[in-house]
Amino acid sequence: MAREIQEINAGSMADIAFLLLIFFLVSTTMDTDSGILTKLPPMPEETPDEQVDVKERNIFVVLVNRNDQLLVEGELMDIKDLRVAAKEFIMNPSDDPDLPAKEIVEVEYFGPVEVTKKHVISLQNDRGTSYEMYIAVQNEISAAYNELRDNLSMSKFDVKFENLTGDDNKDKRDAVEDIIPRNISEAEPKNVGG
């Protein structure tokens, strides 16, 4: 004689699932972290490395003081104008003798191109500079490079530089980076006051 099997009451299943759901809602986050990615220079070795001689015309000096004021190439500047100034410095479109020297470089896809290979953008800030201002300056300099690379990439490959991804586009990416190299140097901050 078969005994009747009692059905398990599943009425509280929903409550259990609710409990788990609420636990996960509370203890997890959904936000994705985004920001400005950079690479720090490695710590210098014990032996002092040989002084690299950089010509005055090849350096673009950006100073920020503790009042968050900008001094670009010896002149006060508003942050609004930094991007344009940086772009002009990087490309030197009018062959200005005060802007970085150009060299002819053979680049894949482009052939021989004039490149301001030795330009350096030098950032220096005070210990009292606000972090917000520091990020703004970093952002504007990055924007200058990104816009120039986008323009070049658009005119040649019809694709924005940021969309040149994947292994098959690596050559193109390298070519653009060869023409517009990114040289940002950050000096150790000083207590310049001001």
Binding site: L21, T28, T29, D33, S34, G35, R66, I135
Partner: protein
């Protein structure tokens, strides 16, 4: 009488709730898959700076976090900006041990890809940030990310 009210007493059929657990389980799995566990309890006041040239951090497992900001509990810890590692305040010298420990947790093949995300309050002065960066250089954790929110930084600055 209206067309819809026919007859006197008609028992309403009970809605079956048998599929309710299934729906809730579906929601549960959705949240389990799309979210990640909270890393730490924030002990410092953190309002990110704004920038628009940002990149997303791809793999969360490879990211370690350093928070800098004014302590939330001003009565006990004062108002000088502090560094937070894991769940406690720390001095800049402790960063090297922290990075070493985090690096140890990763698989050997992933170690060069380790990224340090700096979550720094926008009102913090650069002095402490520089100290942290120097320590990171000493610890040879060179890939860093300045965590920001999306927006125009120039507008954000002129706003205050």
């Amino acid at each position: 009488m209206s067309k819809f009210r026919k007859g006197g007493k008609k028992s309403v059929a009970a809605i079956t709730t048998a599929s309710l657990p299934d729906i809730i389980f579906m929601l549960l799995f959705f949240f389990m898959v799309t979210t990640v566990m909270r890393e730490v309890d924030l002990k410092v006041d953190y309002k990110p700076a704004t920038a628009n040239q940002t990149k997303k951090l791809e793999d969360k497992a490879l990211v370690s976090y350093i928070y800098i900001g004014k302590p939330l509990n001003k009565k006990i810890f004062g108002t000088v900006p502090r560094i937070q590692l894991n769940d406690s305040f720390a001095e800049p010298e402790e960063i090297r041990d922290y990075i070493a420990a985090k690096r140890e947790e990763l698989k050997e093949i992933d170690r060069p890809k380790m990224t340090v995300s700096l979550k720094i309050d926008k009102k913090v002065e650069m002095g402490i940030v520089t100290d942290v960066k120097q320590e990171l250089r000493k610890a040879s954790a060179l890939k860093i990310n300045y965590s920001t929110t999306e927006g125009d930084p120039i507008k954000a600055i002129s706003g205050y």
